[in-house]
Structures are given as structure tokens and as C-alpha cells.
């Protein structure tokens, strides 16, 4: 992945977007944005419909921005930055409505997460044709870690960046190995198996919903070329994992069934333990040797990912919390951060 590629993701400055929106000259745009967000609450939730509405809106706003006095002498990149800012702003506001909104989404997420959980117990790189030279523990874990960040973001572009970063790590591994050894560069023959292996190692939160969200709500003009290729790889990996059977791993049928039977492994398939298990079964020592304090930092993801949102109180104001919210929030804090009593005190002082 070349940084000079025309399809690379620009680094838009969200604050520049907000600053321009505060200018009196952009009052018409602000009105359009506000009424667009309000218009969503007037319709019933429908992922396809919502996606079409957002894409049409972004396209219309792109045209508006193009001829708007505030952007009149701007470069194409600056106008792109404005639409990127707009996507982030609107989708952050509409996140709760649009993310994992279809009835089947949570079920699909749970299904694939459970499956990965079982696979983690026995799958070896060789089952997927990951060549020996690519079995570089540090790189693979680094790639997995990039994927696991996906729920820390709400904007489609930022979620997509987690995917791109993961693919970039694998890409670099492949390129470095072909430079330093006799291993012939084998392109997708090496890339896809490695990516699937990384996904299984990572068990990223809400894989299905995240991929669907990016497909539906990422600004379509930017979902092209290299970015589209790597997203397609994630989607095909998801499809491969969902349909995995003995033959797709070249395994003996009986052995596969035995491995995939929950009782055969240490994993108890109660809803929450699966996700926790999936994170815990990584060799933590290696991650720590990379200078990461993984366990403490990632632990809030473990249970909360099953509720559909990693940080359920991230965007809540103290005065908007109901008494149930406070109860459950206190529950989270004491559960995941037992040693941080001063946070609890601070929290209580806020309400």
C-alpha cells in the first residue's frame, strides 16, 4: 500500500470543518445538516433506506460545498475534507440509530464471534495456508490489535481506517518477507489466508455489524479502488469464517466436529464468557513486550461489546443520566476497573 497512491485516505481536519460551520456564512449548510438529522427521526429504522438517504445527502452537500462562498477558492482536497467532516459529524449523531440497527445484526455478530471463539482453540496457520515465513507472531498480533480498535470509533471512515491499518501491517509483513528471504511474493495467495488468520486471532467486536455499517454509510465516492479492495477482503474473510467446515480447513470431518463442539474445549458458550475468552486466549506476554498495557486498556471491551456499544456512556452528559444509567455505569466501573475507586468518587460528585 503506497502512501502516494491516489486512493489513500486523506487525514481530514475535523476541527477545520467545525470552525467553518460556525461561520455565519455557512448558516444555510448548518440548517440543511440539522434538518437532515431531524428528518431521520421521522421515519422508521431501515438500514437500506437510511444508507440511501445519507449517500444522497452527502452527494447533494458535496455539490453545495463546491459552489459555496466559503469554499470558493479551495482545492478539491479541501472540499473533500469538508465532506469527510460532514460524514463524521452526521454519522456520529446518527450512530445509535444506524449501527447494528437491523434485527438480525446482533445475532450475526454473536454467531460469528462464537464461531471464532471455538476456532481460536485449535486453528493453526497451516490450516489456512499461511506460509511458515509469514508466521511472525509480533506482526500478526499487531495487525489483530488494529482490528480490535474498531469499536472505539463511530465514524465510518475511522472504522474503515482500523481495517486499512490492519491490512497495512499484513502488507508490510508480506513485502518485508519477500525482500529478506527467498519467499516469492505470492500476492493474495498469501494475503487473504494471513488476514483470515489475523481476524480469527483478533475476534474483532461486532464484525458483521461493523462491516455492514462501513458498506452502507461510508461516503461512496471514497469507497473505491484500494480501499474497496481491502474492504472486500474483510467481507470475503467474514464469509469464509461463517461457512467454515472440515473441508475448507482440510481437516478430518470427525476431528473438526469434535473441535467445534463447545464441550470439547474449555469455552463455555454462555453469551458473555465467549467474548471474554476470545480476548484472553491471546498470549498477553507478547503484546506486553510490544510496549502495550493491553489487559487493563482493553478490558472494558470484553463484556460491553455484547451490548452493542463499547462505551455506552461516552457521549452522555451527567445531567442526562437516569438512575438506571447511573446504576449500570457504576456496575461497569467496579467490574472493569476495580482499583479505580477515585473515579467512582468523582462520578458520584458529578451527579
Amino acid at each position: 500500500m503506497d502512501s502516494s497512491s491516489s486512493s489513500h485516505l486523506p487525514e481530514p481536519n475535523f476541527y477545520d470543518f467545525l470552525r467553518r460551520m460556525r461561520s455565519p456564512a455557512s448558516a444555510d449548510l448548518v440548517r440543511a445538516i440539522k434538518s437532515f438529522i431531524v428528518s431521520f427521526s421521522l421515519h422508521t429504522i431501515d438500514a437500506e433506506n437510511d444508507s440511501r438517504k445519507l449517500q444522497d445527502f452527502l452527494m447533494a452537500m458535496e455539490t453545495n460545498i463546491r459552489k459555496h462562498p466559503l469554499w470558493i477558492n479551495c482545492t478539491d482536497e479541501e472540499r473533500d475534507t469538508a465532506v469527510e467532516g460532514l460524514e463524521k459529524y452526521v454519522m456520529t449523531k446518527l450512530f445509535n440509530r444506524t449501527f447494528a440497527s437491523s434485527p438480525g445484526d446482533a445475532k450475526s455478530d454473536m454467531k460469528i464471534s462464537k464461531k471464532i471463539c471455538l476456532l481460536q482453540q485449535f486453528i493453526k496457520p497451516d490450516h489456512l495456508d499461511v506460509p511458515k515465513v509469514l508466521q511472525n507472531e509480533a506482526s500478526l498480533l499487531y495487525a489483530a490489535k488494529e482490528l480490535q480498535k474498531i469499536n472505539a470509533f463511530k465514524a465510518p471512515r475511522e472504522k474503515l481506517l482500523c481495517i486499512m491499518n490492519c491490512c497495512r501491517v499484513i502488507n508490510n509483513l508480506l513485502l518485508n518477507v519477500s525482500l529478506s528471504t527467498n519467499h516469492m511474493p505470492a500476492g493474495a495467495d498469501d494475503f487473504l489466508p494471513t488476514l483470515i488468520y489475523v481476524i480469527i486471532r483478533a475476534n474483532p467486536p461486532q464484525l458483521h455489524s461493523n462491516l455492514k455499517f462501513i458498506q452502507l454509510f461510508r461516503w461512496q465516492s471514497k469507497l473505491v479502488s484500494e480501499v474497496e479492495y481491502y474492504l472486500t477482503n474483510l467481507l470475503s474473510a467474514e464469509s469464509f469464517i461463517s461457512n467454515i467446515d472440515a473441508s475448507s480447513l482440510s481437516m478430518d470431518e470427525i476431528e473438526f466436529k469434535k473441535n467445534m463442539h463447545p464441550a470439547a474445549t474449555q469455552v463455555t458458550l454462555s453469551e458473555s464468557s465467549c467474548a471474554v475468552e476470545s480476548q484472553v486466549c491471546e498470549p498477553n506476554s507478547i503484546l506486553e513486550s510490544l510496549g502495550e498495557t493491553v489487559i487493563t486498556r482493553r478490558s472494558p471491551d470484553k463484556g460491553t461489546q455484547l451490548e452493542g456499544n463499547n462505551y455506552p456512556f461516552l457521549d452522555k452528559e451527567a445531567e442526562n443520566l437516569s438512575s438506571e444509567d447511573v446504576q449500570s455505569c457504576l456496575g461497569y466501573i467496579s467490574k472493569w476497573c476495580p482499583g479505580t475507586r477515585h473515579y467512582l468518587k468523582l462520578f458520584i460528585s458529578l451527579i
Partner: protein, 202 residues
């Protein structure tokens, strides 16, 4: 960025072929070997882009590599959907890879877009003494199925540029007759969107 007066036409090209046929080596030869001033190319591990000038027009190939292992075969449609061109690669020293190539041709003909330009590439053409698939056999097959055929060698670069040049020429010819006011859209994204979205909603 392009030379003045010429427009760049984007073309998605999908690469299909059994493991070990050297399909990415063929592409690497093409991508690294070209030098067009002021044009950017992308060399990733599995995605490549390269521009090619044909007369006064320019085609920008976006090359999508696919995993050749049998276990990943069923995923291929996700990659070749909406492709303007497909290069199906086999190894002239390996008859099984030729059988596999024919399978892809059939699949593309059955499911793909009939406008997709298809090329059959018999790679490792430098290894003549180990040849197991004759030129005539492949040539006949290609003719019968409306593909164009070349034997290539990523090692010696024989026919590598030629095959991409020929694809570019065919894409430009194909794109010419119906004047399209919206410009040249070689990758059809609309069908892809609806297809992916239906699969999303269970």
C-alpha cells in the same frame, strides 16, 4: 496529472489463477516495468495500480489479486463482480492449473458481465523443457471461448506488457461506440451495492 488532453479511464482488472502459477509475479513485472512520467502506481502485496497509455488515451488499471487456493474458490465472485477485465493465469508446466483456469472461465461466463474482457495467460513460458500444456491446446480453447490468449513469462518479461496493452486497447474500443455523457464508467458499482446489501439483511 495526466498529459494534457487525455482523460484517464479507470478499469478494474481481476487476477485469477491457481496457487503457484505466478500470477502476482506477472503483475509485478507489469507494474514495476512501466515508467510513465507523472503517473503514480501502487505496489501493495495484493492490490496494484498502473496506468498505461494507448495512443492518446490512458487506462488506469486497478488490479485485484485473488487467493488461488481451492479452499478460497467460492469467494472469487466477491472480487470479480463489476470487473472490466479478467486475466486468468495458468502454469504451462502444470496441467491441473490449466483445468482450474478453464473452471474460472466457465464461471465468469456464467455469472460475470458479458462485457468483461477476458485474457488467458499461460505463464512460465520460459520453462519450455518442462511444458505440459501445449500452445495449440490453449489457443484452441481460447478461440472457442472468445478469450484472447498469450503465453507469458514473468521471469523474462515475455508478453507481459503486451497482454495488458491488448486489454487496454480492447477496453477502449469497447467503451467507444455508445457515447456516454456521464463519462467512462468501466466499473459498475450499482449492481454491487444492491447485491451486497441484500446479503446483509437476514
Amino acid at each position: 496529472m495526466a498529459t494534457s488532453g487525455s482523460k484517464i479511464k479507470n478499469a478494474k482488472l481481476v487476477l485469477l489463477g491457481d496457487v503457484g502459477t505466478g500470477k502476482s509475479s506477472v503483475v509485478l513485472r507489469f507494474v514495476k516495468g512501466q515508467f510513465v512520467e507523472f503517473q503514480e502506481s501502487t505496489i501493495g502485496a495484493a492490490f496494484f495500480s498502473q496506468t498505461l497509455a494507448v495512443n492518446d488515451e490512458t487506462v488506469k488499471f486497478e488490479i485485484w489479486d485473488t487467493a488461488g487456493q481451492e479452499r478460497y474458490h467460492s469467494l472469487a465472485p466477491m472480487y470479480y463482480r463489476g470487473a472490466a477485465a479478467a486475466v486468468i493465469v495458468y502454469d504451462i508446466t502444470n496441467p491441473a492449473s490449466f483445468t482450474r483456469a478453464k473452471k474460472w472461465v466457465q464461471e465468469l461466463q456464467a455469472q460475470g458481465n458479458s462485457n468483461t474482457v477476458m485474457a488467458l495467460a499461460g505463464n512460465k513460458a520460459d520453462m519450455l523443457e518442462a511444458r505440459k500444456v501445449s500452445t495449440e491446446e490453449a489457443q484452441t480453447y481460447a478461440q472457442e471461448n472468445g478469450l484472447f490468449f498469450m503465453e507469458t513469462s514473468a521471469k523474462t518479461a515475455i508478453n507481459v506488457n503486451d497482454i495488458f496493452y491488448e486489454i487496454a486497447k480492447r477496453l477502449l474500443v469497447q467503451a467507444q461506440p455508445p457515447p456516454n455523457p456521464a463519462g467512462m464508467i468501466l466499473t459498475d458499482r450499482s449492481d454491487q451495492r444492491s447485491a451486497t446489501s441484500t446479503s446483509c439483511c437476514s
